[in-house]
């Protein structure tokens, strides 16, 4: 093999690692989309804005010289509480009206947070105060930073935690029951309103976590939820919306594909490639990679 070919493979490996780190963040956000969709069949367009609100909570916590763990908890709680308020005030009254009005309401909530955020926080991107120093490890020609490793293992931990939660706790089993059949779950004595609120809280706190990590590696701004939310949503659909492992799989696929394309071809095509994958998946397997193709009943 010539020298160029070997460097090409090293480059590919580097993009793969960057893609996995990015995909972990997408997966974290996609989990929230998937859990909410799984229970109430609502595409929560405002999910990216929960992420943005969480990122701002973490940003302000770090600005007041609080340590990183406190900032992470602040952003998770902040995003979760915003989600609880939005769910109670907007999504709960609209739930019986059908899916299209709910979808439009979600788009409205998303726009409201974006534009109000621009006025309240200012539209400029804000850099987060660095708390821990970035250490870069070299493996041959490949660089891995400690933040990337942290994000990767955090995502694995979250996935195991969610698996434990949905299989071995009362509320998790209730969540699964509600996602099979909301009415039947209610008849079995499950307080579905509380389960839905809890699902929103859980999904939004994961989004808040992803938000502060994203803000830490890049910057915090009111419009950050728009593109990140759309990407994570694409990831959820690609993996199979409503299925928790599907969201993680979709997140990794989108993250790796984006980094490969932007590294090997043109960085401006990175948004294009994720939508392209989305279209292919929707045409070949509308239910997503892990999803079951359900027939509409008469």
């Amino acid at each position: 093999m010539s020298q160029d070919t070997i460097y090409f493979f090293w480059d590919c490996l580097q993009y793969l690692i960057n893609g996995i780190a990015q995909g972990s963040l997408y997966a974290m956000v996609a989990l929230g989309y998937t859990m909410v969709y799984g229970i109430i069949r609502l595409v929560n367009f405002a999910h990216g804005e929960f992420l943005m609100m969480g990122a701002f909570c973490g940003y302000f916590a770090l600005k007041f010289n609080l340590p990183m763990p406190v900032a992470i908890i602040a952003s998770m709680l902040g995003a979760g509480i915003v989600a609880l308020i939005v769910e109670r005030l907007i999504y709960r009254p609209i739930r019986g009206e059908g899916r299209i009005p709910a979808l439009i309401t979600a788009i409205g909530a998303s726009m409201f947070f974006q534009y109000t955020g621009q006025l309240v926080f200012g539209a400029d991107p804000k850099t987060v105060r660095p708390v821990f120093t970035e250490v870069v490890y070299n493996f041959g020609e490949v660089n891995v930073s400690n933040i990337q490793i942290f994000i990767f293992f955090l995502t694995i931990f979250i996935l195991i935690f969610l698996w434990w939660l949905t299989h071995y706790t009362r509320i998790g089993v209730a969540m699964r029951a509600a996602s099979y059949n909301l009415k039947a779950a209610e008849l079995m004595g499950i307080n579905t309103n509380r389960i839905i609120a809890f699902t929103f809280f859980l999904g939004a706190s994961l989004a808040g976590l992803a938000g502060i990590l994203m803000g830490y590696t890049m910057s915090v701004e009111p419009m950050m939820g728009l593109s990140l939310g759309l990407k994570a949503f694409v990831a959820a659909v690609v993996g199979g919306i409503g299925i928790i492992p599907g969201a993680a799989l979709g997140g990794y696929i989108i993250g790796i594909a984006e980094n490969m394309v932007s590294g090997l071809y043109k960085s401006s095509w990175r948004d294009g490639v994720s939508f392209f994958i989305l279209i292919i998946i929707l045409l070949v397997r509308p239910g997503g990679i892990l999803g079951k193709n359900s027939k509409e009943k008469v």
Binding site: I90, M111, Y115, L119, F233, S268, W269, F275
Partner: protein, 294 residues
């Protein structure tokens, strides 16, 4: 004065767009969230005609050719996108149309001959408010007649119940596809108008947020209602201007007010101002009933 003429033209362009989306979303019940993509394709196609292939004839005739170029390009895109997408339903159709319109926008963004990310400039000025409002009147008459034609009744029945209309012998896919193509084509006409009116195009003017804006106009007026679409487009195009007149303090909040209005509307009156009805519909219907009885 120019400023007010510009607003009047904008209102007309948005009425055309809203009417065309109303055909897909309101009449046929297919939830499309990528209408700005078709708008953009029409605008860019007619701008390419105007800049590179313009014939040495009267601007009137050139504008007519340009409009037909915009219509055909957008209708072709509607066909290419509709064939794969219309197998999907509800949320999934909305997602697929978002994806396609974003891909269209990214392709335009990367085409250097139409300016790419810098925007397309030097488009000849061939149109004015009279053109725009002429198109608006034609589209309105077309939509009102379509609603009462066999084709219109067929697609309305698809919206009401797909299974029932299929058993009545309606070819679901073909009717959905036709309404998708016609809707896309009329959005392309609106694109031709905007290209030759503003003489400048930028790919970001056709992004997802504009699809949402057109959709909100349809929803506000009432899905399936022609008069509703017109009223919705007028209200939502004038609202930012009125807020600007009231004062700059309120004007900066206009997008927040816009989105809050959207949420409140959905919570209080999800069917929109008119619902599926028209302003003059009831009287005419009552007369027909009387004739039938006599």
């Amino acid at each position: 004065m120019d400023y007010y003429l510009q607003i009047i033209s904008n209102i007309g362009i948005f009425i055309t767009l809203t009417l065309s989306l109303n055909l897909i979303n309101g009449y046929c019940g297919q939830f499309s969230l990528g209408h700005a993509g078709f708008w953009g394709v029409g605008a860019y196609a007619s701008a390419i005609y105007g800049v590179y292939f313009a014939l040495p004839v009267d601007p009137m005739i050139n504008m007519l050719i340009s409009i037909s170029v915009g219509f055909s390009a957008a209708a072709l895109c509607g066909l290419l996108i509709g064939v794969p997408c219309l197998r999907l339903k509800g949320d999934y159709l909305a997602i697929a149309t978002i994806g396609f319109s974003e891909i269209l926008r990214i392709i335009i963004m990367h085409t250097e001959s139409v300016g790419g990310p810098r925007g397309f400039t030097n488009i000849p000025k061939w149109t004015n408010s009279f053109w725009v409002w002429g198109i608006v009147i034609l589209t309105t008459i077309f939509m009102l007649n379509l609603k009462r034609s066999a084709f219109g009744r067929a697609i309305i029945s698809i919206r009401e119940d797909e299974v029932a209309s299929e058993t009545m012998g309606i070819n679901l896919f073909r009717f959905k596809l036709f309404s998708f193509i016609i809707g896309a084509g009329i959005a392309g006409i609106a694109g031709a108008l905007v290209a030759h009116d503003q003489q400048f195009l930028h790919p970001n003017n056709f992004n997802f947020m504009w699809s949402v804006c057109i959709l909100v106009m349809v929803i506000l007026g009432g899905q399936g209602s022609v008069s509703g679409s017109i009223v919705g487009a007028i209200i939502l195009t004038l609202l930012p201007e009125i807020l600007k007149l009231i004062g700059s303090d309120i004007s900066v909040w206009r997008m927040s007010i816009y989105s809050a209005l959207m949420i409140i509307l959905m919570l209080t009156r999800p069917q929109g101002i008119f619902g599926p009805h028209e302003i003059f519909e009831k009287k005419r219907f009552a007369k027909k009933l009387q004739k039938g009885a006599a």
